[in-house]
Symmetry: C2
Subunit: 105 residues, 2 copies
DNA sequence: GCATTAGTTAAGTACATACTTAAGTATTCA
DNA sequence: TGAATACTTAAGTATGTACTTAACTAATGC
């Protein structure tokens, strides 16, 4: 639970970069190799690899290497962490508004 | 729709900083003044004001000034933008897995 | 009116980050 | 075996970012 804070930090930091979100958008359509992933992006392959490392450490992406090709795919668990944090904020928010409504009624 | 991209960029960039998320956690419990918001944080008031400017520009927070006190509260619209982006990723992800399941069945 | 409170704004600094190039390894193919 | 492919890794750079201090404005209280 307290350990979860570090995970939330990593996930939201990873999501903070537009290039990494673009990578996730691509991966939600299906798994692809690193070089295939790099093609539409206007950065070098090396830069893409660095983004992928961060995405993997944050739990947003999983990869596996077969031969010389590394295949990347979305790990739903990472997105779930972010979604949960947002849901938690909205939940306490709505509970508070409900109590406020009760008082007024 | 294409304009929405800039909004998503701003929201996720804002959420990328742990101090700003801490501010949002505080605000989800209810509206507070700037100095009240700053007290538990180990940074100067000036730094808090700078975070608040970013949070307001990104649509995550609304503020209003009465006399010399600025009251800050969460704007649910900002969180909704982030939530929607994540939901969109998971949606395309699940659709793909469904099609895969259909093929196997 | 004067001091205090609450916030603002500007300028500077130190560190983080996204990128590059370049030189490497491991795998596949002819 | 040798060339091409698919990454990998290290090192350097330039820009961003979060923060500070300091000097300011505006509202409130005595």
């Amino acid at each position: 639970m307290a350990d979860n804070k570090a995970k939330i930090d990593r996930v939201f930091h990873a999501l903070g970069d537009p290039t990494r979100r673009q990578i996730l958008e691509r991966l939600s359509a299906g798994p692809v190799s690193v070089s295939h992933l790099a093609t539409p992006l206007k950065i070098t392959l090396a830069a893409v690899v660095q983004h992928l490392q961060l995405l993997e450490e944050s739990g947003l992406v999983r990869t596996e290497k077969l031969g010389r090709v590394r295949t990347c795919r979305i790990d739903p668990a990472g997105l779930a962490v972010a979604q949960q944090w947002i849901a938690d904020r909205r939940s306490t928010l709505e509970k508070r508004l409900d109590r406020l409504g009760d008082l007024l009624a």
